[in-house]
Amino acid sequence: MTRFLTRRQFGTLVSASAATLAMPGILRAENTGRLLIIGGGFGGASAARFARINYPDVSVTLVEPQTSFVTCPYGNLILGGKRALSDITHSYDGLRARGVDVIHDRAQEIDADGHRVTLASGDVLDYDKLILSPGIGLRWNAIEGYDEAASEVFPHAWWGGDGSQISLLRAQLEALPEGGVVGLAIPDNPFRCPPGPYERISMIAHHLKQANPTAKILAFDAKEGFAKQGLFENAWAELYGDMIEWIPASGDGRIMRVDPGNKLFISEFGEEHSVDMGNVIPPQYAASIARDAGLANDSGWVPVDPRTFEAEAASDIHVIGDANIGTPMPKSGYIANSTAKTAVTAALAEMSGRPAWDDPVYFNTCYSHAGEDYGISVAATFRLSEDGIAATPDSGGVSLQGDLSEMARTRRLEARYADAWYDSITDDMFS
């Protein structure tokens, strides 16, 4: 016998035995389903909005601990002094107005066989289909000494949370002594938002150029190359002179240990780098809810069916956003938003009668701000082929290279398009 412990009643059940337990007074329609979404970020919020618009008979519940959402994209612009925290904080009221049942609680445990999720409060939610968009977990102590306490000294600012991490980083930047050293530790792939660290370097430099022009930025990288590298390095040389030094793994750029007490970064070969402030972006994996549910593989990320985004390890759980792995698509907000819609059509195909999207085509658009009125981008298109999702040949690529003197208009336009992208995609999540 199924216990029905949902905190509130949402829609009817498909199964007849359970339907007898539902309260007839609030039934919406026959044969509607219950879509449960965990995570209210780029994947989850997009899924919720899309589902309400396109599947009005399906009840949609969104579980998200934060009462408002601080985006990671445009967080770097706070460091550059071009945005305030309130500009990148979004309310769930728009989704509520569309009929999404938004529950501010933390999903604690998934019972895949029983189709139910237990929340931190102890409440239990039953579902027919689950969209899991939990984002990343930070691998504490993967860099020795970098744990949650250390992140109060060396902020990661790699998830939005309540905005405190990005605010702390901004405050440290404002308090940086004249000519001080800002250290960044950047992880190896795969990680959330591949160009993000380099936009961050740019925005920190943008601030320092005005406020503290003799300061230095040391960017220690566990990789040998990065997204839009040529464009970024060109921008850094054009805009910031020799303020930025990027150190790849082959130059001993992999940070193995941090000592927050003495403000030290220690490299693979034991070099101790003294910094006045540090931003440590640690290695990552799928958020704990996905790993605890046994959905992740040895990589720590969740392998999924490339057509439906259903987890390989469990049926009726579709994992979208940064938590999944196995496609060449980047861990970007853009891809989370697009794949959320595919996942919803796949999850609801059977109960809605509307087919899943069998021949999906995606594109990723990834803008970065490298300076004032200086936008750069990379795009790629992807489609399903025999071997899963693959990048489409002869398409995509980065912004045109060239000196600022001839490219100024393109850079300015791309900065404006980036702003429009931000407004559009956040509307497509929350409005």
Binding site: S250, D252, E268, F269
Partner: protein
């Protein structure tokens, strides 16, 4: 040439496996694809207690900032030396010791 970076354990017991990592910052310019004059290392040698235990001959496909990781059976007295030799005959060396118990 720049100062070599070496990573070794401080101590090991006799016969124990130790991991050795080495890095020398060097551009390794082949002179093939640019106008820059050729600037290449030719050989790297690692010695333990005076005996060569590991070596590498560089060719054009060797990357800049040559890095090696290899595994040695520790033997007393645990004196290690590492030498990078340039094509022009100059070399740079580093010495390290591991306490062997």
């Amino acid at each position: 040439m720049s100062t070599p970076r070496i990573r070794l354990p401080e101590s090991a017991s006799e016969g124990e496996e130790i991991e050795i990592r080495t890095l020398l910052t060097h551009p390794m310019i082949t002179g093939v694809s640019s106008d820059d004059p050729r600037d290449m290392l030719t050989r790297f040698e690692a010695r333990m207690n005076g005996e060569t235990v590991f070596a590498y001959d560089f060719a054009n496909g060797s990357a800049a900032n040559p890095t090696f990781i290899f595994f040695v059976r520790a033997a007393a007295p645990g004196e290690f030396s590492f030498t990078w030799t340039h094509e022009d005959g100059q070399s740079v060396s580093a010495e390290e010791s591991v306490r062997i118990s």
